[in-house]
């Protein structure tokens, strides 16, 4: 493993450094928890020592202060994450992954948070392929990470990394859709209000382009869609899915692609009939699995689910390989 050499040296440096500073070594050892194993403590000690400079009031010999406690707390967050599999609010996670950069832990234990495996009722998740999937993902991501960060592996353990939209994605996209909302509203006013006889495709396209973005359409022949109710007799026609900036807006069906697109645009415009539009992360089916997708919603509670996704822009190639 690539980590071996890096870890050797990291640990060596730390112990060398401590040998030269017996006082520091003694002081830092007072923070060792009773139940910490050598391996855990070594890693955490390195974390504390590496980040001490960032907490200027933390000095060896000074028994305790609130900034020392903050450092200790973050070191525990980091070890809890690496060794127990805990996750914390995003802001905290960002912080520790930055602070933990460069510290190498050799084969950290693998724990599953409940997102993979056990569900609320305690039953094993019925989606068997989900498990296999996450294994693949784990391996791939691990490799990926090492490649992309030559500085060394970070603490962030691959398990918790999901493909899918980032949690902050809705917030990032929201301003654009607020603008789009206004554009659509004005456009519809000038067109005499929302109705069945409009050119929905044109309205949507022009509004989006006036906001300096483009519309993405994906077409799939109906017969290629698996997982439709078995009794379904209709086999011809096409389905169209509209996205903008990766955010899903609507799905439509029609005899040909144009008709499908028109229907999808109409569905998308319906969303703009509320008082506001919101970008959210929602679960949808995609290729027979549940995925998290970015979706544009109005404020009404939805009485039904989303149509299965036809495309999925948040996926890296590895997953595509792994799942197909």
């Amino acid at each position: 493993m690539r980590g071996m050499a890096g870890e050797r040296s990291g640990e060596d440096i730390v112990s060398e450094y401590l040998d030269q500073n017996p006082q520091l070594s003694q002081w830092v050892d007072t923070f060792r928890g009773y139940c910490e194993s050598n391996k855990q403590w070594c890693a955490r000690r390195e974390f504390i020592l590496r980040n001490m400079e960032a907490f200027p009031t933390v000095k060896p010999g000074v028994p305790s202060s609130s900034s020392l406690d903050r450092l200790l707390s973050l070191s525990m967050v980091w070890t809890n994450h690496v060794f127990l599999g805990c996750s914390y609010p995003q802001a905290v996670m960002d912080k520790i992954s930055e602070m933990g950069e460069g510290i190498v832990v050799q084969d950290p234990p693998v724990h599953k948070t409940t997102t993979a495996g056990v569900t609320a009722k305690g039953k094993w998740s019925a989606v068997a392929e989900g498990d296999a999937d996450s294994c693949v993902k784990r391996a791939k991501c691990g490799a990926n990470e090492v490649d992309s960060r030559p500085a060394g592996r970070t603490s962030t353990r691959p398990v918790s990394q999901k493909t899918g939209p980032l949690p902050q994605a809705p917030a990032e996209h929201q301003p654009f859709f607020n603008r789009l909302y206004k554009a659509v509203a004005w456009k519809l006013v000038s067109a005499g209000g929302f109705g069945p006889n409009l050119d929905h495709v044109e309205i949507l396209r022009s509004c989006i382009e006036s906001c300096k973005q483009t519309l993405t359409c994906v077409f799939v022949p109906l017969k290629d869609i698996t997982g439709l109710p078995a009794g379904r007799t209709q086999k011809e026609g096409h389905v169209c899915e509209i996205r903008c900036q990766t955010v899903y807006m609507g799905t439509g069906y029609g005899r040909d692609e144009a008709a499908a697109k028109a229907m999808a645009s109409k569905e998308a415009l319906k969303v703009f009939q509320g008082r506001k539009v919101t970008v959210k992360i929602c679960r949808r089916r995609y290729k027979g699995k549940d995925v998290e997708d970015l979706v544009l919603l109005d404020e009404q509670p939805r009485s039904q689910g989303f149509a299965p996704a036809l495309s999925y822009p948040f996926q890296d190639e590895q997953l595509e390989d792994g799942s197909s």
Binding site: K123, R232, S303, A307
Partner: protein, 984 residues
């Protein structure tokens, strides 16, 4: 105790410890409820002195019940709690003391478990909502129908933790409740009520134990007090045994495993959320009149008699030829101690000891083997002899390897059997796809009906055809309806639930549920190494670490035992690992423990909230405190992960697994809180302070005037209770700051209940008797304690007595037996026969639960009187024996039986008892007319019956008068018809 299986195991192994409660229900007259007069003798034929309520076991089911709709608001919850207490009071009818204990701040050792529960609850809540949403979408897309989603605010059960506003309100409401009942309910007028609310530190049941322990250590204690403790936790049984009080009974809700729960999505019974199909609801009753009734009946209560458990244990533990004198009381303490190995709230259980695998029996066997070598008992007064414990552990350790292998084998065997069973069931369920009906219907060979010539075959065939078509139409209409209800949106295809092929495939899939991967593989060579590697992430060679784990565990065992026998030894101690070591690792443990840190203090309520709540429950805390749970700059942010791993640890369900949560660093918690303490409001400061137990009593209690006098003279220092005024109960009284005083109206905290304008009760602070530091509470029977009469059949009964053994099923060994006279039987037989029909008069099938349910074949041969039947048959020369007659008698008794559960047992015992009688008579006296050889006619049977019954009457009259009060003549429900056939 964290061992759900413990109670089940105990009640199966020692069935006679359970007695069903007889509950007198309040009657209703013109819509007015008439309360039950609890001053009357207890219908359970026993009188209890003290009733202790572990309130958390009441609060949880009353605030978020599983078998009925949840209360709408907090007021309704309070009323539900009051009603629950009333119900218990009515069943138990305590004559001296009612002690209500709500969990206060717990010792640190318990906090880890509380923390894990609350984090899980919060996480499961979120996941359930998610799963619901997901399943909902899926079902609707498939064309299923679901009731509209109700937007209900979920009750966060996490608020049932000391320090929250909810708990504060609850304490207020209980004060009101107590004052009301003491003023108005005659059954309460001589009862002293103790209320230990959440502001008093300690777990509820342990506060109760502390009370009992401290009372029985003072000289005025009545050694024959009959205690009754309410609560469902298995550790109450341990606690009860640990008191060494001879009369100790536990009351709990009857344990009903696998009670059906409605699906969380469509609210129908019979499937899980996972299998929800979204089909239309079936009508309940012909016109849907039972739509909102739950099929489950009201939860019934059972008594667990610890004196009977003591009898069982005496049989099991008594050892002859010991190198030291056998002391049963001390062997009980050892038994309690060994049960801790198998599971308790404070330590994870040893991997090799699993209660379902008979771990306790194994331990008892080892104990009896080893005790010859140890030269004494494992424990004394709650102190552990580690040297001897090590010998037990080593003996378990030797077997460990085999236990793990056996476990794997059993597991596989079980799985295989299950699979076969499922296959079989499926094959059975699959009847033929089509059956001819009417005169073409298939008939059993050798049936009574001879085949008759076919009439009008063409018409019949036409009918059958039409019928089939109609069925198809119905199915189609059904799926159409479902579609329309869902708004006919484009995604809803026609329902395919009727597609038998699709169904089958699904069922097969669910068979092969994915197994949790188990990296430890305890059944394979090298298990120890793998266990330490996977669970602790250390090498097995890391001897120091392993010893640390063992040492902590040893400390834990000492702490737990001390906790049960002496009270909390240290508020600070806790087991700082997620897993237990192996039994074989317990080597040289003698020096591992000396004593606990002295004078540790419990957390304050709000501090404990910070220690056990996830950030998601932060709304119960002040804003700046809450901020510490989520801010990246908080110095304790590491205590509050928003998600965590659950290690199934070889188990199947998440709730059985180990939540891998970080432990709380007390020092950092306290120093972080020091900064935010000034932000507390006055109200919060009050909630955060430690409170005191309270004592209440009504006007007619002898102590009433004494307390009233205390308030009049406004004594400032504590006053001892004069023992003679209060059944020998001791303690110190202090004036309450905001007391409940006689003639001072009590305002109702609940809008729907009225204020008490005429208050006749008084409340005062109460403190348990105090003892010097280092005082050791003795775990012995007190002098003067009378052991209740035995219930179990002595082993040498046959040798000593000629009388057959009469099983003792209730509290009263001489209980009155219900009987009917001849006319009663006639009337009964008459009406029963009509409903039941002659479904084989010699059928051995037990009677159905509801005798008016018509799932029996209609009578073929008209109604007969039961006794005539047998006579008739004997005319025909078929000699009926007694045995087949027996179930008939049972059937007739049925309306008189009390609870459902005791039925089987009672039947068995009666059955055998009956046989005994029958045999004796046949062989011996022969007084019964024609009852010789192969069995007499029905007539002689009846004759017998009468004669013997007369005998029995005589016997009863000769008995002492002391149970007269319980006779059924006074309007109490007749006790279950036990031992009806033991007349002689």
């Amino acid at each position: 105790m964290g061992v759900p299986a413990f109670f089940r195991w105990l009640s199966r192994k020692y069935p006679s410890i359970i007695v069903h409660c007889v509950e007198e229900k309040g009657k209703e007259c013109n819509g007015v409820r008439i309360p039950v007069d609890t001053t009357k003798p207890n219908p359970n034929e026993v009188e209890f002195d003290n009733l202790y309520l572990d309130m958390n076991g009441i609060i949880h089911p009353c605030t978020h019940p599983e078998d009925k709709p949840a209360p709408k608001n907090e007021d309704e919850m309070m009323v539900a709690i009051f009603e629950y207490i009333d119900r218990l009071f009515n069943i138990v009818r305590p004559r001296r003391v009612l002690y209500m204990a709500i969990d206060g701040v717990a010792p640190r050792a318990k906090m880890n478990q509380q923390r894990s529960r609350r984090f899980r609850a919060s996480k499961e809540g979120v996941e359930l909502v998610e799963e619901k949403q997901r399943m909902r979408e899926e079902i609707i897309q498939r064309g299923g129908y679901l009731p509209p989603e109700e937007m209900k605010e979920r009750f966060d059960s996490n608020c049932i933790t000391p320090g929250t506003e909810f708990m504060d309100n609850l304490a207020q409401c209980l004060r009101y409740y107590v004052a009301d009942r003491l003023s108005n309910d005659p059954g309460w007028k001589n009862v002293v009520v103790f209320l230990s609310d959440a502001s008093v530190p300690g777990e509820g049941e342990h506060k109760i134990m502390d009370f009992i322990r401290r009372q029985r250590a003072q000289p005025n204690h009545d050694p024959n007090t009959h205690h009754c403790l309410c609560g469902a936790d298995a550790d109450l049984i341990m606690l009860g045994l640990a008191t060494h009080e001879p009369n100790f009974t536990i009351i709990r809700e009857e344990f009903k495993p696998n009670k059906p729960r409605p699906c969380a999505l469509c609210n129908q019974l019979g499937h899980d959320i996972k299998d929800c199909q979204g089909t239309a609801r079936e009508k309940q009753g012909e016109h849907d009149e039972f739509a909102d009734t739950m099929p489950a009946s009201e939860q019934e209560f059972i008594f667990i008699r610890l004196c009977v458990l003591r009898e069982y244990l005496a049989k099991e533990l008594t050892m002859a030829s010991l190198p030291f004198p056998f002391d049963f009381e001390r062997s009980i303490d050892d038994w309690v101690f060994m049960c801790f190995f198998v599971g308790n709230d404070f330590l994870p259980h040893l991997p090799s000891l699993e209660i379902r695998e008979g771990a306790i029996d194994r331990l008892v066997n080892i104990y009896k083997d080893v005790v010859h070598k140890t030269g004494g008992y494992l424990t004394q007064n709650g102190y552990v002899n580690l040297e001897r414990v090590e010998m037990i552990m080593q003996a378990v350790g030797v077997a460990e390897d085999n236990i793990f292998k056996k476990r794997k084998e059993d597991d596989e065997h079980f799985k295989r059997r299950n699979k076969e069973k499922r296959k079989r069931m499926k094959a059975e369920q699959q009847g033929p796809a089509y059956l001819t009906t009417g005169q073409f219907a298939p008939q059993a060979l050798g049936g009574r009906h001879r085949p008759e010539p076919v009439h009008n075959a063409r018409h019949q065939a036409y009918d059958m055809r039409m019928q089939g078509r109609e069925q198809h139409n119905k199915d189609a209409a059904q799926s159409l309806k479902a579609m329309m209800r869902n708004g006919g949106n484009s995604s809803a295809g026609p329902s395919d639930s009727k597609d038998s092929r699709g169904m089958k495939r699904k069922a097969e899939d669910s068979d092969s549920e994915p197994e949790p991967e188990d990296n430890v593989r305890l059944w394979e060579e090298g298990w120890k190494q793998r266990y330490y590697k996977t669970k602790f992430d250390v090498d097995v060679s890391d001897e120091d670490f392993r010893r640390k784990v063992v040492q902590s565990y040893v400390e834990g065992l000492c702490w737990v035992l001390r906790y049960y026998y002496q009270g909390c030894a240290s508020w600070k101690w806790y087991f700082p690992f997620h897993y237990a070591p192996f039994a074989s690792d317990f080597k040289d443990i003698k020096e591992m423990f000396s004593d606990f840190e002295k004078d540790t203090k419990p957390f304050k309520p709000l501090e404990q909230l910070m220690g056990v709540f996830p950030a998601a429950s932060g709304n119960f805390l002040p804003a700046t405190w809450r901020n510490l749970m989520s801010s990246p700059d908080s110095s304790i942010i590491d205590f509050y992960p928003d998600d965590f791993a659950i290690d199934l640890n070889g188990k199947k369900y998440a709730w059985q697994g180990v939540a891998l949560l970080p432990f709380v660093d007390e020092r950092r918690l306290r120093s972080a809180l020091a900064d935010v303490y000034p932000d507390l409001t006055l109200e919060e400061v009050k909630r955060n302070s430690l409170g005191s137990d309270l004592l209440f009593l009504g006007k007619s209690h002898p102590l009433f005037d004494f307390i009233r006098e205390l308030y009049r003279v406004e004594t400032q220092e504590g006053t001892e209770i004069p023992a003679e005024l209060c059944h020998g109960i001791q303690g110190t009284l202090n004036l309450d700051d905001d007391p409940i005083l006689p003639d001072k109206p009590v305002k109702s905290p609940i809008p729907m209940l009225r204020d008490i304008s005429q208050n006749y009760s008084v409340g005062v602070k109460f403190k348990d008797p105090q003892y010097a530091d280092g005082f050791v509470f003795k775990a012995v029977l007190l002098s003067g304690a009378k052991i209740p009469s035995p219930v179990l059949k002595p082993g040498d009964w046959e040798n000593r007595n000629r009388e057959p053994w009469r099983p003792r099923l209730g509290f009263n060994p001489n209980r009155q037996q219900a009987h009917l006279d001849q006319s009663g039987f006639r009337a009964l037989g008459h009406s029963m026969n009509r409903n039941r029909g002659g479904g084989g008069q010699y059928s051995n099938a037990p009677p159905p639960g509801n005798y008016h349910q018509g799932n029996y074949r209609p009578p073929h041969s008209g109604g007969h009187q039961p006794f005539q039947h047998s006579r008739q048959n004997s005319f025909q020369g078929a000699p009926p024996s007694f045995q087949p007659q027996f179930p008939r008698q049972q059937q007739q008794q049925q309306p008189y039986r009390g609870g459902g559960h005791g039925w089987d047992r009672a039947m068995q015992t009666q059955h055998s008892a009956y046989h005994q009688n029958a045999n004796r008579e046949r062989g011996g006296a022969g007084q019964g007319g024609g009852s010789g050889g192969g069995g007499g006619s029905g007539g002689s049977y009846q004759h017998h019956y009468n004669q013997s019954r007369d005998d029995w009457h005589d016997r009863r009259d000769n008995r002492g008068q002391h149970h007269q009060g319980y006779s059924s003549g006074r309007g109490y429900p007749a006790p279950p018809p036990s031992r009806r056939y033991n007349w002689n």
